[in-house]
Symmetry: C2
Subunit: 242 residues, 2 copies
């Protein structure tokens, strides 16, 4: 009998409730751009990232903590917040030692759903920290849910491709019997050598490219440029020490 832990992929927050996450590590994936920004800010020395689900909370917690308020709705900076959701906004010279309070359309929402549903651990994943995620999942030997944040609950390709990249690297260590995972891995294998050109066909690319964010998006599909592991603990995302 196999004693490997089980891995599932969830293609939209709307599908999270179908799965039992209570004994699982949930990997929140929001490639464009929340989880790429989280990894980057922490890699560049941010003390912590506080993910919040509303703009009001973002402003309030920013006041209480003296943190930088940041976020987006529909891909744009929100009135009342200081910064946006671009990894390029958080270089070391700006973010080191600081608290970032972040609210985004999709990623923050899924993270809070996973917590409410009783996930035993929540981490965030994106291409900039692909290797750190994979190593942690292999070492933990726990069940895994790869949670795609999607776009307003609609399936998206960029999060699915990241799930596929993870599966492609760690599948020998898990029992995977889930059509979503099989599809995600297929799609990643099909496009891993043309990721940047393929991503230009996706709906989210078109949505963001009109704001002039092409450079951001290329960064967001490049592996291991901010290779740390963001880990949720008492309301904060901080780097998990191995």
């Amino acid at each position: 009998m196999s004693t490997k832990p089980v891995l599932h992929t969830i293609l939209s927050p709307k599908l999270l409730d179908i799965y039992d996450v209570s004994n699982s590590i949930v990997v929140v994936i929001d490639v464009f751009r929340a989880t790429s920004t989280i990894a980057t800010a922490l890699f560049n020395g941010a003390a912590r990232v506080i993910p919040v689900d509303t703009v009001d909370k973002c402003i309030q917690i920013g006041k209480n903590t003296g943190g930088i308020t940041a976020g987006e709705r529909d891909g744009k900076v929100i009135a009342g917040l200081e910064h946006g959701n671009s990894p390029a906004e958080y270089p070391r010279e700006f973010v080191e030692g600081k608290t970032l309070v972040l609210t985004t359309t999709n990623g923050t929402k899924l993270l809070h759903m996973a917590l409410q549903n009783g996930a035993s651990e929540v981490i965030t994943g994106s291409f900039p920290n692909l290797s750190a995620v994979c190593e942690h999942l292999i070492e933990s030997k726990k069940n895994v849910i790869l949670g795609c944040s999607a776009w307003k609950d609609k399936f998206n390709l960029e999060d699915t491709l990241f799930a596929g990249a993870v599966i492609s690297r760690i599948k020998e260590h898990f029992t995977i019997h889930c059509d979503s995972s099989l599809m995600a891995e297929n799609m990643y294998e099909l496009h891993k050598d043309d990721l940047i050109s393929f991503i230009r066909n996706t709906t989210h690319w078109h949505r963001l490219a009109q704001y002039g964010l092409e450079k951001d998006l290329e960064y967001c599909v490049t592996p291991d440029r901010a290779n740390i592991l963001p880990f949720y603990k008492n309301g904060d995302l901080v780097i998990k020490e191995s």
Copy 2:
């Protein structure tokens, strides 16, 4: 400006509410096996198929109409019904001229959701009637929702592959700007030449194969063996005359 109608793919009934179906043809897809059975029964001369969402309704309507009661839950025949959900159970010599009252786990449920959400037309699609579906969608020049019935709301590959087969044939006639459709077409193109062997990797295949239904499943991924168009009208699925 393009005047092509718009096509979307929905990967689970749970995602239907995100889309506006009110001016659209909804294609209900349940490859294993409801929509394959519906096409086959009508192709073999059934007067109509009445899709119902509960076993009680199935038995009641069977009594009222003198119809054959049929259905499955979790892939098995239900106590109290006369027949199952296998296309092989409905040859011409058995089904011709008769009414089939059918309840299934996933397909019937999505069909009723589409009706409740105000779809302007509901048809059913499966590989046995692939060409009939494609020809109708091209001729209609209306917006299209390809609705995958999934498995208890979980994404499945067989319905997605059928959506991809449709998209691959008709895409020049539609505006398609939807990651689900792009993925479905990619997956179909990747596996169209090894469909029967690839399908053996899917979770649903494993679920059904244990009941000895391998022959059924091969039939269900073979195009145009029952090439008519089931069309929902006043509670019945009947053949749409072109």
